[in-house]
């Protein structure tokens, strides 16, 4: 909460000051308005009733004066309400952008270790409760607070004994409220757990509904659901009961306070004790009501504050997650060569790349042409330090070579590729790209130099053209279409009614698995990177599309250093180097002929297919 206010204050110091002034202005106007009744009765009505020929002119004057005060209050109220919109929405905007930007900077590990639903819920639930808190609860709290203070002061001025009595009743009210809130919170926790259970069950069963049908499992399913649903009803009932009861109780305690004031005040007026006048009493009664009301409002809002602050904690938890560290300084640039073969950096898209080193010590810059030689040397890696998932990995990919990783699920194929583009950092050993330790290369540049085609194709909302252009943002339409042709995607795209302008939604849900893979290949092709990481699909796409995908991939891999997580014999067979992995270790490596020769693990695997 503290950090939230810091965030608010950062940009909106003046705004918040204005809001505060506005709140004070409007609350004070309200209070003056209420005490005006005293003046009205004591100074005007009572004297006027005592003269035979009443003159209303002073009353008109007083009314005009009070009207002016009201006007100020009105302006203040509008001003702070309006400013608060800017402040709360502005803060929301800033917070969302900050959250998102921070999220983008987080390492892959964060996404692998946190459930996507949980991350999502920070954006949907937590930010939203915060929005409600800022735009509704906060101004109400502020104005309640100001009202309480100013009413309290007016009450003291009017009559001290009655004020003490009112205060006593407020304590009583708070006492009840805190008891009820405590009970409510217990059941709210229970309710939250039960909601989680019911939602989880619904989600699991609805997504498995077809299986349930096939197995005639409807009755059991319903019985289990009923049990969870009944539990939720019971805890929700308890939680709601206590929250609901809070309002009538604090209201009636407030009413009691009001009545006691009238009785005690009446006695005081009649006996003429302490100089209390009728007008003052009437005014005090109004004040008493205005004193109790905001207090009960604040107490009923305790819950929303608790919920919002839990949300804020989760928001900051995400914001505090450690971002990816990038202390690389070698960058990737486009180059040209002059007649004598010297490398010149250029902004043009020359299809020629160089690593640009800046040597701080000598204040000199050197260029080294990108060749695509990648060397993994004596590498060990584990997701946490105590359990290594890859050990002693040494692989040397010469420029333009195709390297196939084969092995069973969990052997560590994907993990190796995750290390090459530094989704994860290795613990021991070295990975060198054109002789440069990849730790020295800026992550964004390293990744730009490595095209990526994953097994689960992820597409983004937007047109097909946008999705291909994702590979290189300044690619022209022609370049994108050319890439699509290379990837064999052009023919299916052209058959779509809107062609390249077809809008994709929900991760490309309107395309088939095979078509999505073709798009992913086109996306990598348009980037035209010096090296590639490919994860072949295992899911069953039909043979015809598969041939297309295969050809697309082959086309893409031509003249590029490629790492392929291979599932197809044809891919494996024509690789320059086949790396056979088992339990995180390399058991064999060599080309097809060599490995068939030694009749080891690879030989066994191949025999399986024949």
């Amino acid at each position: 909460m503290k950090r939230l206010f810091k965030l608010l204050m950062e940009d909106y110091k003046l705004h918040m000051l204005a809001v505060l002034l506005g709140v004070i202005g409007s609350a004070v106007a309200t209070v003056i308005g209420m005490t005006f009744i005293e003046t009205l009765i004591d100074d005007y009505i009572t004297p006027l009733t005592q003269v035979s020929n009443p003159d209303f002119t002073p009353l008109v004057g007083a009314l005009v004066k009070i009207a002016l005060i009201y006007l100020v209050g009105l302006v203040c109220s509008f001003a702070y309400n309006r400013i608060m919109v800017t402040v709360s929405q502005g803060t929301m905007k800033k917070l969302r952008i900050k959250l998102f930007n921070h999220m983008e900077s987080l390492p892959i590990q964060y996404f692998d270790t946190h459930s996507h639903g949980d991350i999502m819920s920070v954006y949907t639930n937590d930010v939203d409760t915060l929005r409600q808190f800022l735009s509704q609860s906060l101004p109400q709290l502020l104005s309640s607070l100001v009202t309480i203070v100013s009413v309290f002061i007016s009450m003291i001025i009017l009559d001290i004994p009655l004020t003490i009595m009112s205060l006593a009743m407020v304590f009583l009210m708070l006492l009840f409220s805190s008891k009820i809130i405590k009970a409510a919170r217990k059941y709210f926790g229970q309710q939250q757990r039960d909601i989680g259970a019911v939602n989880g069950y619904i989600e699991e069963m609805v997504s498995g509904q077809k299986v349930i049908k096939v197995f005639n499992h409807e009755e059991e399913n319903l019985d289990n659901f009923r049990m969870l649903n009944d539990q939720l009803r019971d805890s929700a009932y308890q939680a709601n009961k206590y929250t609901n009861i809070l309002m009538p109780i604090s209201m009636q305690v407030g009413n009691t306070s009001y009545i006691l004031c009238a009785i005690i005040g009446g006695i005081l007026v009649i006996n003429g004790y302490l100089g209390l006048t009728l007008g003052a009493l009437v005014a005090f009664l109004t004040l008493n009501k205005s004193f109790n009301e905001p207090i009960s409002r604040v107490s009923s809002q305790v819950n929303s504050i608790v919920i919002a602050s839990a949300g804020v904690d989760r928001i900051f938890e995400l914001m505090d997650a450690t971002p990816e560290i990038d202390d690389g300084y070698v960058t990737l640039v486009n180059i040209e060569k002059d007649s004598s073969g010297n490398i010149i950096e250029t902004d043009k898209k020359t299809q020629m790349w160089a690593w640009k080193h800046y040597h701080k010590a000598e204040d000199a810059t050197t260029y080294q042409e990108v060749k695509g030689e990648i060397e993994i040397a004596d590498m060990n890696f584990g997701y946490n330090d105590d359990k290594m998932v890859l050990q002693n990995i040494t692989v040397h990919a010469k420029p333009g070579q195709k390297i196939a990783f084969v092995g069973s699920t969990g052997a560590g194929k994907t993990t190796i590729t995750n290390l090459i583009n530094r989704f994860y950092d290795i613990q021991e050993g070295k990975i060198r790209y054109d002789g440069i330790n990849i730790n020295k290369i800026k992550k964004a540049d390293l990744r730009r130099s490595l095209g990526l085609v994953l097994q689960d194709t992820h597409l983004f909302t937007g047109s097909i053209m946008d999705n291909i252009r994702f590979g290189r943002l300044d690619a022209t339409d022609e370049a994108c279409i050319k890439a699509a042709k290379l990837a064999n995607a052009d023919s299916f795209i052209s058959r779509l009614p809107k062609g390249y302008e077809t809008e994709l939604t929900g991760d490309g849900a309107n395309l088939s698995q095979g078509q999505r893979q073709l798009l992913a290949i086109a996306r990598a092709a348009v980037a035209d990177p010096p090296a590639l990481i490919l994860d072949e699909a295992t899911s069953s796409i039909d043979t015809r599309t598969e041939i297309l995908v295969q050809r697309g991939m082959d086309e893409l891999m031509k003249d590029r250093t490629s790492f392929v997580i291979a599932h197809r014999l044809s891919t494996v067979k024509n690789s320059d180097l086949i790396v056979v992995l088992e339990h995180g270790r390399i058991v064999e490596q060599g080309n097809h002929a060599e490995l068939m020769e030694i009749k080891g693990r690879y030989y066994q695997l191949s025999a399986n297919i024949a």
Partner: protein
């Protein structure tokens, strides 16, 4: 829609009525208090009569007690009614979903159904509670405060009426203006969430292409857009408060002037004037709360509609009147079957299918994606109904069977396998509740699942996470096959069920199936020719039609599609890795 929703109240009608009744009592006390307060001031204080003060003070305290009790009861019953109502809605939906046929399920997306049963129900619960607690209470308060004002001073009552009409109109206007913008705001929310979702699931792609700055820019624009809409909507609502205050202040000034004149003129007492001030506040507050309630109701109508849709959806496959309770054998016949997912559509996904399959045969089905292989087998256990023609199992039309009987005899291992959270043995027993441990082991062995199950520390008691996320794809498929085997069906259908299993294990499963359940008719959909080459017959589907039907050798001789697929797979498109190991 409203009828559907109201009919779900059931046993919670009583608490709902009680809520309203007690809320009325509460209002009555709320209205009575200022009235009695006026009496205290006028008869007691102004006359200097202490006994009157005690009398009316006492009456008021009793009134407060009544208010407290009825308020608390109203609160309790409201909680009971609304949470109970939510409970009934959830149950009604879940119950109806259980009767859904596959095409009903297809009508709603899975995530859509989940939202309807969770978020939408919560919305309904909140607004229903609001309605029974506030919707009766505050109009009543408004009317009674107005009536009381008329009784005390008709002239002032009239002023109040005019003010409340003015205020009501102003608030209605604001709502009317703000609502469409709010609809846009919600659309903006969806965009925002979609954007975040995409970046979370696709984070590897974003990072792999170093597109963080681009995505940040895109997200920034979405947020900016949402920000603008929100500011627009809330700026309008920012008028609410000042308008409200304007009404309060204006009428207070008016009341002061009129009241002063009337008190001086002798037609109003000081006490009555104070009560009038209180009534004025009551009136304005009621209006304000009513606006709030209205907004909530309008916002929840979308939820209400979505819930009603699920409850009203009629299952389109139901039991016949006099169902057959026994399936004679595992023979299958398709007679002139035309089928489309949309009823009444002439665009069939299966056209003129005629097939005869003998009991105990093994039949392979092959064809490109979209050639309707899954559609074909889904008709056998009547997961969908044909448009024309008929599907016969054991010599009888599938529509004549009791659904449970039919589906017990026709076991389908669906393409999208689902395991459920629970132990392995519990998951296996989905196939047969009463299956003994030995029977489960037997089935697991047949599906080549026993060995890997045994390799888990908890063996058959290993807990499967939701969606089977803690077992590999191949393991999951084998568990699903074992589960289906426990049914001891007359017909077993495998819809690409061994795609993630390595070829050697695939072979083993096939062998054990043909050895141990040789009497069972087996339909096997696959992409791998090797998996079905041995079958008694192979169906080649192309674009919803039977392109070829014969043995491996026959098809190689005569069928072009089959030959093409065969050649391609020979060339090395077969799976290489052994995922299931």
């Amino acid at each position: 829609m409203i009828k559907t929703l109201i009919s779900q109240l059931k046993e919670y009608k009583l608490p709902s009525y009680l809520t309203i009744i007690f809320a009325v009592f509460e209002v009555a006390t709320d209205v009575a208090i200022p009235f009695i307060m006026a009496l205290i001031i006028d008869r007691g204080i102004n006359n200097g009569d202490l006994s009157q003060i005690y009398l009316y003070g006492g009456i008021m305290l009793v009134t407060v007690m009544i208010g407290l009790v009825s308020g608390a009861l109203a609160a309790k019953f409201a909680a009971e009614a609304s949470t109970g109502y939510a409970h009934n809605l959830r149950e009604a939906m879940f119950e109806n979903v259980q009767t859904f046929s596959f095409s009903n399920i297809d009508n709603f997306s899975t995530s859509g159904l989940v939202t309807r049963m969770t978020t939408d129900v919560t919305n309904m619960q909140n607004s229903y509670q609001m309605i029974i607690r506030l919707f009766i209470r505050f109009p009543l308060m408004l009317v009674s405060a107005l009536v009381m004002s008329f009784i005390i001073a008709p002239k002032i009552g009239l002023v109040f009426l005019i003010v409340s009409i003015f205020l009501g109109l102003a608030l209605a206007l604001i709502i009317k203006l703000a609502m469409p913008i709010y609809v846009e705001v919600f659309a903006g929310y969806d965009d925002l969430n979609a954007s975040v979702q995409e970046n979370i699931t696709g984070i590897r792609v974003v990072k792999g292409f170093a597109r963080e700055p681009y995505e940040k820019g895109k997200f920034g624009k979405t947020v900016e857009n949402l920000f603008r809409k929100f500011v627009k909507a809330e700026s309008l609502l920012a008028f609410n408060n000042p308008i409200m205050m304007f009404a309060i202040y204006g009428s207070m000034l008016g009341l002061s002037w009129l009241g002063a004149n009337m008190v001086v003129g002798g037609s109003l007492t000081t006490g009555q004037l104070t009560s009038l001030f209180t009534y004025l506040m009551n009136i304005l507050m009621s209006l304000m709360i009513l606006t709030m309630v209205f907004i909530t109701i309008i916002m929840s109508t979308a939820s209400a509609r979505r819930i009603a849709e699920v409850i009203d959806e009629k299952a389109d496959i139901v039991n016949p009147n006099q169902p057959l309770m026994k399936v004679a054998d595992g023979s299958i016949r398709f007679e002139h079957v035309n089928f489309s997912y949309k009823k009444g559509s002439e665009k069939y996904v299966l056209s003129d299918i005629n097939l005869t399959i003998q009991s105990g045969q093994t039949i392979g089905i092959i064809g490109a994606t979209g050639s309707s292989k899954s559609s074909l087998i889904n008709l056998v256990s009547r997961l969908y109904d044909v448009n024309e023609g008929s599907v016969k199992v054991g010599g009888k039309d599938v529509r004549d069977y009791d659904l449970e009987t039919l589906r017990n005899e026709v076991a389908v291992v669906l393409q999208n396998n689902e395991l459920f959270s629970g132990t392995i043995i519990e998951n296996l027993r989905w196939g047969n509740k009463e299956a003994s441990y030995e029977a489960c082991v037997e089935a697991a062995k047949m599906a080549c699942a026993h060995d890997f199950i045994e390799s888990f520390p908890d063996s058959y008691n290993t807990y499967i996470e939701q969606g089977g996320s803690n077992v590999s794809g191949g393991q999951k498929q084998r568990l699903c096959i074992a589960r289906a085997l426990l049914k001891e069906p007359k017909i077993l259908i495998l819809d690409d069920s061994t795609s993630a299993v390595d070829t050697a294990t695939d072979m083993k499963i096939r062998k054990s199936l043909s050895d141990s359940i040789s009497a069972t008719t087996k339909l096997i959909i696959t992409q791998r020719i090797a998996s079905i080459a041995y079958a008694d017959s192979i169906i080649v589907l192309d674009d919803g039609r039977v392109n070829g039907y014969g043995t491996h050798e026959e098809l190689l001789d005569s069928n072009e599609i089959y030959t093409t697929i065969y050649k391609n797979q020979e060339k090395g498109f077969a799976d290489f890795d052994e995922k299931g190991a």
